[in-house]
């Protein structure tokens, strides 16, 4: 479905000020979300995850520092998505799946007794590979969905939705059609809408499971630029099978193989001088 044209046949030149404000609206603007806040780090210790009898994640220890982007790379089936889904306790929603070990958000043990799962997921948001805006909801409602679904009472819903849209750089593109259906946007816009939805809830951590793999290259770059902006407010973990993306976006990278962490280092070092032979073979494409 083609989104309606927002400008009619007017002369092409805009004033310099208009152009600048249009560009400003297109760029992600995290400052719109309010005053600076420090993020929180996540520590994973001795994590094991199972699908029935299959031991998918075997004793993983990782630190995800606050306000940094950490990438997880590895071949298909190495357990990276599973491991990440254990962080926000989505793994246990799969029938027959279970996990052991500890995941702490600062001091809070996410698997602790008496911890409310839905509260955990409000603090640790997630963006999926295929954009999944709610089809029956408008753009506005989609972003507000995070707040409404989680039951957070908020007096300034409108403001929060607008802020989230500004934060992901969608504001300029959708401000005139907030009530049109969310699925009427392009793939890249839909994904940014999903990110706005996650951000509106103001989580501490955002997990991204191959967020750009279903997008075209330009949309991918926009999402990556957005991730770079987002890290100033949130801790970000991104699973990707695109090594160049990990290299562009992440400060440190984890390489996983067969459910274990093989190497975890600063991204530049991992891609210029990997310490482990297996990492070397994977990143240079000698197996994959």
């Amino acid at each position: 479905m083609i989104p309606p044209e927002t400008t009619s046949k007017e002369p092409k030149e805009m004033s310099a000020a208009e152009e600048r404000s249009q560009q400003a609206e297109a760029a992600p603007d995290l400052a719109a979300m309010g005053e600076q806040r420090k993020g929180h780090g996540v520590k994973v210790r001795d994590l094991h995850a199972y699908y029935g009898a299959v031991h998918a994640v075997r004793g993983v220890d990782i630190d995800f520092p606050a306000n940094e982007v950490t990438a997880i790379i590895g071949p298909s089936g190495c357990g990276k998505s599973t491991m990440v889904r254990c962080i926000n306790r989505m793994h246990e929603e799969i029938p027959g799946a279970r996990s052991e070990g500890s995941v702490t958000l600062d001091e809070l043990d996410v698997y602790g007794a008496g911890v409310d799962v839905t509260a955990v997921r409000r603090m640790i948001g997630m963006v999926f590979q295929k954009p999944n805006p709610f089809p029956t909801m408008s753009i506005f409602d989609n972003v507000a969905a995070g707040l409404r679904l989680s039951g957070t009472k908020s007096d300034n819903l409108r403001e929060r939705v607008h802020r989230a849209l500004r934060a992901v750089g969608l504001w300029g593109e959708v401000k005139n059609r907030l009530n049109s259906p969310g699925i009427g946007l392009s793939g890249g816009q839909q994904q940014r809408l999903c990110i706005a939805r996650a951000v509106a809830v103001e989580p501490e951590v955002i997990l991204m499971d191959e967020p750009a793999s279903a997008l075209d290259p330009i949309a991918t770059l926009k999402v990556e630029e957005l991730i770079d902006e987002l890290k100033s407010r949130y801790t970000i973990v991104i699973v990707t099978h695109n090594m160049q993306q990990a290299a562009r976006v992440a400060k440190s990278t984890v390489f996983m193989l067969d459910g274990e962490v093989v190497e975890h280092d600063e991204t530049t070092k991992l891609f210029t001088r990997p310490a482990d032979e297996r990492t070397e073979r994977y990143v240079t494409g000698k197996f994959g």
């Binding site: 926000n88 989505m90 929603e93 029938p95 839905t118 509260a119 955990v120 997921r121 409000r122 948001g125 997630m126 999926f128 295929k130 999944n132 709610f134 089809p135 029956t136 969905a145 995070g146 409404r148 679904l149 989680s150 039951g151 259906p181 699925i183 999903c194 939805r197 996650a198 809830v201």
Partner: protein, 271 residues
């Protein structure tokens, strides 16, 4: 090959066309203003009256049956898709539902007859609400089946997205799953209603027959299928004609429901 298939199509179409033709031919002539505005008098001689009470009766009974069958049916379907999933109990339920769809409608009528009518439950013998119950039992598995199919069509990714936002399961069902499946659920329910409208046997043993239009569900009521049943064997031609008219009315009602169901599903797929 093509010839054979065309032949089969023809064989199937011919009786359908004949039915419609006969309905129109025999029934249209009895349609009139008084046909729809007067009750059948029940007299053997004289003016036989119209079918007003039958129409009212059908509408009332089916409305009650729908009120029972549709919410419960959708709830069961929700249980099966959201909570039960592949569990042993859910599969058991599915098995029973499948069996129920195959039960002849007369059995439901008999069941209610034995349990509620003979025992004069609720202070009456035959009663409209008991007929509605029998119809509800008939409609229930249809609603469950079609609703489950529609609910399963809701992409799992939507549920995942809602879960990841920190939504409790009931809210996911209420605000995401149901709205997304809404048009499919409506269509399925309307089709179940159309089915229930036309059933004769359950009403035979539970509501029996009346002539006056009544809103009292705790007593005898008229209904279109029963009116047709009794009228068609009458020696008087004009009463037989009335039966045809009633049959045509019934088919018209079912048709209207079908058209509404189509319109709803078409509008929703035009997102």
């Amino acid at each position: 090959m093509r010839g054979t298939l065309m032949l089969a199509t023809g064989v199937a179409l011919v009786p359908l066309i004949l039915v419609i033709y006969y309905l129109l031919y025999k029934g249209l002539s009895s349609w009139s203003g008084s046909f729809f505005s007067t009750d059948p008098t029940g007299n053997f001689f004289g003016n036989p009256g119209g079918i007003r009470s039958a129409i009212f009766g059908t509408l009332e009974i089916v409305a009650l049956a729908s009120l029972l069958a549709i919410p419960i049916g959708i709830a069961v379907a929700l249980y099966l898709t959201e909570y039960g999933k592949e569990g042993w109990f859910a599969n058991l339920v599915r098995y029973f539902v499948d069996v129920m769809t195959g039960v002849p409608s007369v059995v439901f009528g008999l069941f209610i007859y034995i349990v509620l009518v003979i025992s004069h439950a609720g202070g009456s013998g035959f009663a409209g609400w008991k007929g509605a119950l029998a119809l509800a039992l008939l409609m229930l598995p249809i609603v469950i089946r079609s609703s489950e199919v529609v609910l399963l069509l809701v992409p799992g990714s939507l549920r995942e997205a809602a879960l990841a936002l920190g939504a409790p399961r009931w809210r996911i069902v209420w605000r995401v799953v149901l709205p997304t499946a809404r048009s499919g659920l409506v269509t399925g329910s309307l089709l179940a209603v159309a089915r229930g409208m036309g059933e004769t046997a359950p009403l035979l043993f539970t509501v029996s027959l009346a002539t006056a239009a009544t809103a009292n569900l705790n007593g005898l009521m008229n209904s279109l299928p029963l009116q047709i049943y009794t009228d068609i064997t009458s020696p008087r031609d004009v009463i037989v004609a009335r039966a045809w008219g009633a049959a045509l009315t019934l088919v018209a009602l079912v048709l209207i429901l079908n058209v509404i169901a189509r319109l709803i599903s078409r509008r929703s797929s035009m997102a």
